[in-house]
Amino acid sequence: MRSHAIPLLAAAFLTAGAVAPACAADAAFAYKTTYRNVEHDPDKVWADDALAGGPGGATIHEYELRSAKGDLLVSQVWNDDCSSSTCPTRLVRIGPGGRRTVLVDDMMHQVIPPDDPRFAGLSKTGPAAAFAEHPFLLSADGKTLVNGDFKFEVGAGKP
């Protein structure tokens, strides 16, 4: 799922000036927590049937963004539905009383778990480190969730 990125990349460079304002204040989600080997999602983003990830359950990685418009949570589940490079991921708005509204529900690039010792020998600089630290960004206008070279329109959402 990579061969299409070059034209987009070229376009990004060639039209940098034109699109720059939309990217001027991309907000980065910060790592929140990881739940390993769970059969129930403590934050209630995923139903139990989505957590079939093997004998011990699934793993959930969460990233959060607090803004004046409300709190946003990105939850990625490592379960049987993952491909080799992507996993089911949701962007959720946390409303008053903890009410969840799903704004994006799609397959997104797998995150790199922070402090995972197995990846200790890999590069810690440049875009590699940037993606590892902030795999999810929200565009300045709040309409696009950016995940590496993936982009997802942020919808009105459904409870």
């Binding site: 061969s3 299409h4 590699a128």
Partner: protein, 228 residues
């Protein structure tokens, strides 16, 4: 440089790095066979690897090796460090074989193999969906809510829910993967025509007589290693 331009370049840089494996052609069928992929499935493996990477490849999303196992997949299929995985082609082919077999099982469980035999057209190209096409498309996920499942439900290659975050349709991968022998992963003989052996030594070791050799007592000719 303004912050805005930096932001664009950063995003573009991440895109480039996530696509860094484009710079490599992937592993050849011969090298994959040497690493343990059965000869009859090596062409399919090479086709997948061609859009992924080489044994030593790492992209900036932490995806590793000839089949670009990203962290979650890596964690599930390999028990060791990233560095040891990168330096062990055999471990990569073992992990990928298990991954493909699991993908096929999941495709069956979710009814996705019912697509086999159907024609799919996208981007001006058409193909008949077969086992290898299904497995290639499973790079978009074979889950019950995944892109391939969405296509199976709608038959629409242009629907938003059959496309990835770059707008690439799962149909393009169905077409890309069609026509290969993937029986090593599905356990079924391929519907595609295979080249017939034309001489001694042309029989793949995973199929036909080579996988079910006669016992020495029943064989009319016995060739010992020292005779070769």
């Amino acid at each position: 440089m303004s912050r805005a331009v930096k932001s664009v370049l950063f995003n573009a840089g991440v895109a480039l790095c996530l696509s860094a494996t484009l710079a490599v052609a992937g592993e050849s069928a011969a090298s994959l066979t040497s690493a343990g992929i059965p000869a009859n499935c090596a062409d399919f493996a090479a086709k997948v690897s061609s859009s992924e990477g080489n044994f030593g490849s790492v992209n900036q999303a932490g995806c590793l090796g000839a089949f670009q196992f990203c962290p979650g997949t890596f964690e599930r299929y390999y028990n060791g460090s990233a560095q040891s995985f990168l330096s062990n082609p055999q471990a990569q082919t073992v992990a990928w074989t298990q991954y493909e077999q699991n993908s096929w099982s999941q495709a069956q469980k979710n009814g996705l193999t019912s697509l086999v035999g159907q024609q799919v057209c996208s981007g001006g190209r058409c193909a008949t969906i077969d086992q290898s096409a299904i497995l290639m498309a499973c790079q978009f996920g074979c889950g019950k809510n995944g892109k391939l499942a969405n296509y199976a439900a709608s038959g629409d290659c242009n629907a938003r829910n059959v496309k990835d975050g770059n707008g690439v349709s799962v149909c393009s991968y169905l077409i890309r993967g069609a026509g290969y022998d993937a029986s090593c992963f599905t356990g079924n003989q391929p519907a595609v025509c295979q080249e017939s052996p034309s001489g001694p030594g042309d029989f793949p070791t995973s199929t036909g007589i080579a996988v079910n050799p006669p016992t020495a007592s029943s064989a009319s000719i016995v060739v010992n290693p020292t005779d070769v």
